[in-house]
Amino acid sequence: MTDQTPASAPNQRTIDAVNTSLKRRRAKERRFRRLGAAAVALGLLFVALLFTDIIAKGHTAFQQTYIKLPVALERAQIDPEGSGSAEVIARANYLGIIRAALREHFPEVTARRDKRALYQMVSVGAPQLLRDRVLADPALIGTTAEVWLLADDDIDMVVKGYIDRDLPESERRVKDRTLGWIERLEAEGRIAKRFNTIFFTNGTSREPELAGIAGALAGSFYTLALTLLLSFPIGVGAAIYLEEFAPKNRWTDVIEVNINNLAAVPSIVFGLLGLAVFIGIFGVPRSTPLVAALVLTLMTLPTIIISSRAALKSVPPSIREAALGVGASPLQTQFHHVLPLALPGMLTGAIIGMAQALGETAPLLMIGMIAFIVDVPAGFTDPATVLPVQIFLWADSPERGFVERTSAAIMVLLAFLILMNLAAVLLRRRFERRW
C-alpha cells in the first residue's frame, strides 16, 4: 500500500499535465484547421470572381446580330448567261446587291452621306457570306430571298446593349440616324441575335464581327501536337536513361541540377533562344507551329523529365528485381514491367506540361506568333498564331466588339485547360496503384 502512493502520485500529475496541454494542443489544431479552410475559401473566391467576370463579359460573343432583308438575287446580275458555273457566280457583285437591298428597304434615304451610313450597317464581310450562300444553293438565283445579313459590329454592340442608346448623340459611336434605322428594323422583327458560327470558323480579322478563333485554335492544335510528339519521347527517354541506366556520378548530378534549373527558367528566355537558334541559325520559318513547337518542347522537356523520373521512382524496386530475377534483360525489364507502371504518371506529367504550353504566350511573341494572320493554318509550316497570343492581340484592340471576343476566347482556352487537367487527374485516379 505504502509503495503504491508514491508510484501513482506522479502518474496523476502526468495525466493532469497531459490534460492541460491537450486543451492547448486541441485549440492549436482547431486554429490551424480554420486557417486552412479560410485559405481554401479565399482561393475559391478568387477563382469564382475570375470565372464570373470572364463569363459575364464573354458569353455575349457566342451570339451575333444579323439583319434580315429581302435580297433580290437577279439572274442578270449574278449569272447573266445562265451558265451555272461556280466561277461566274463567285464573281458577281454581291456588295451591290446588298446595297440595293438596303436602298430598297429604306427608300427614304437618298442623301449621299446617309446612304453611306446605311451601307455601313451591314458588315464588310456580308457580301462574301452572301456569295457563299448563293454558291451553296444556286436555286436562289432569280428569286428574292429573305437573307440574314451579318450586321456591323457597331450595330451588334447597340443590340447587345454595350452602346447606351440614351447617351447624347455627340458621345455615342452610333448616331441617331442609324439608331432610328435599328429601331425600325427591330420593330419589324428584322434584327436578331443568332448563334455566332463565325467565331468558330473564321481566323482573326480587323472587323470584330468577322473575327474568330479557328485560326488560333488550329495553330494551337498543330503546335501542341508537334510539341507532344517531340517532348514526350525525348523526355521519357531521358528520364529512363537517367533513372535506370546512367551511372550515378558527378556528371549525372550536374545534369540533374541543370534540368531542375531549366524548369525554373522564365519562358521568355526560351523564346529568345528559339529566335536566335531555330530561326537565326537553322532558318526555321518564323510564325509557324513548327518553330513554336520547338521552343515549347524546350520549355516542357524539364517538366516531363522530372515527372517521368518521379513516376519511375515510384515503381517499387522489387518489380525490377522480380523481372531481372527470371532472366529479363534490363531493357525488357524496363519495357515490360517498369514503363507500363510508370506510364500513367508520365502521361499525367505530359498533360500538365501540355497545359502549360497551351497557355504560354511570352516566348511565342519572340518568334513571330504575334503576326496578324487571317488564314486558318493548314499545316506545321503555315504562318499561325495560338490561342493565348490571340487573346493578347484582341485584348489590345480598341474596338468594343473585341472585348467580348477576348473573354470568349479566354473561356475557350480555360475550357481546354480544365479538360486537360481533368484528364490528368482522372488518369492518375484510374491507374493509381498500391503495392
Partner: protein
C-alpha cells in the same frame, strides 16, 4: 562493429568445417564483395551440392543476402558493388566477362524476401519467364508449363479457376508460392531464396517449408533465413556467417547440436543475433 573487431582479434576467422562437397552444383572460392570502399564479404569459400538445401544463417548485416546475390549476379545491378574470387556453376565461371548474366539468371532463379508478383494476372506471372526465353512453341505448351509450374509450387488447386485474376490479389503465402512457380517455370538448376518466409504467417511458412523440401528432388536450393528452426527443418547443410566471414559450415544437425566455433555456439544458443 566494435564487438566484431573484438571478436576478430580473439577468434580465428578461418572457416570451421568442410565447405566443399563432391560434385558441387555451385563452387565458390575466396569470394570478396565490396560496396564502394566497404568490404561486405571477406574471402568466403562455399559449395552448393546437387539436390540439397543449404541454409545461411547469421546476425543481420553479416552479408548473407550479399553472398546469395552473388550467385546469380543480382549484385550487378547495384552501383559500386564489386565481386572478386571464383564462382562456378557446373564448372563454368559465372563472373567471366564473356558470360551474359541474363541467361544465368534463368539458370539460377531467385525468390525474394517480400513476395513480388508482377501486377499482372496469375497466368502472366508464370508465363512471363518462359515467354521471354522462348521455352515453348505454342499456347498449349505454355498452358501446360504454367500448370506444371503452379502444381510444383503447390498453388494449382487454389488458383486454377482464376488464372486471369491479378497475382497481387492473392494472400501473402500464395503470392510467395506464385513467385516460386514463376522461378520454376524457366527450369532453373539452382533456386536462391532470401528469407522467403519472413513476411508470412506461421501456416503459410509451414506450407513453403514443405514445398522447399519437395523441390529439393529437382533443384539445388540456397536459402537465407533468420529463423534457426527453419534452417534446422528444411536444410541438409548450414552455413553460419558473421560480419562478412563464413565462420562455420557443416551438416545442419551437427551445427545445431554440436557447433565447433564459439561464435556459432553463441548465435545458436541465442547469446547474440
Amino acid at each position: 562493429m566494435r564487438s566484431g573487431e573484438l571478436a576478430r582479434s580473439q577468434e580465428s576467422r578461418e572457416t570451421v568445417g568442410d565447405y566443399s562437397v563432391p560434385d558441387a552444383r555451385m563452387r565458390c572460392r575466396d569470394v570478396e564483395v565490396w560496396y564502394g570502399d566497404k568490404r561486405a564479404i571477406h574471402g568466403v569459400s562455399l559449395d552448393l551440392g546437387r539436390n540439397e538445401v543449404l541454409s545461411m544463417i547469421g546476425p543481420s548485416g553479416c552479408g548473407k543476402s550479399t553472398f546469395l546475390r552473388c550467385l546469380n549476379r543480382m549484385n550487378d545491378t547495384i552501383d559500386g558493388c564489386r565481386v572478386s574470387g571464383s564462382i562456378q556453376l557446373d564448372g563454368e565461371e559465372i563472373y567471366d566477362r564473356a558470360l551474359d548474366p541474363v541467361p544465368l539468371r534463368a539458370r539460377v532463379g531467385m525468390v525474394f524476401q517480400k513476395p513480388n508478383p508482377f501486377p499482372k494476372s496469375i497466368y502472366e506471372n508464370v508465363a512471363y519467364g518462359p515467354r521471354i526465353h522462348g521455352l515453348t512453341n505454342n499456347k498449349t505448351e505454355l498452358d501446360a508449363l504454367v500448370e506444371t509450374s503452379l502444381r510444383k509450387a503447390g498453388l494449382w488447386d487454389e488458383v486454377k479457376d482464376r488464372l486471369d485474376a491479378p497475382g497481387t490479389g492473392l494472400s501473402g503465402g500464395q503470392q510467395q508460392r506464385l513467385c516460386i512457380a514463376r522461378t520454376i517455370a524457366v527450369s532453373p538448376e539452382v533456386i536462391l531464396m532470401d528469407e522467403p518466409c519472413s513476411a508470412l504467417d506461421p501456416i503459410a511458412t509451414a506450407i513453403i517449408e514443405e514445398l522447399i523440401d519437395e523441390l529439393r528432388a529437382n533443384y539445388s536450393i540456397a536459402i537465407v533465413t533468420h529463423s534457426m528452426q527453419q534452417a534446422a527443418r528444411v536444410s541438409q547443410r548450414t552455413a553460419y556467417f558473421h560480419l562478412g566471414d563464413l565462420i562455420e559450415v557443416g551438416e545442419t544437425n551437427q551445427i545445431f547440436t554440436n557447433p565447433q566455433h564459439r561464435l556459432t555456439e553463441d548465435y545458436i544458443t541465442g547469446r547474440f543475433g
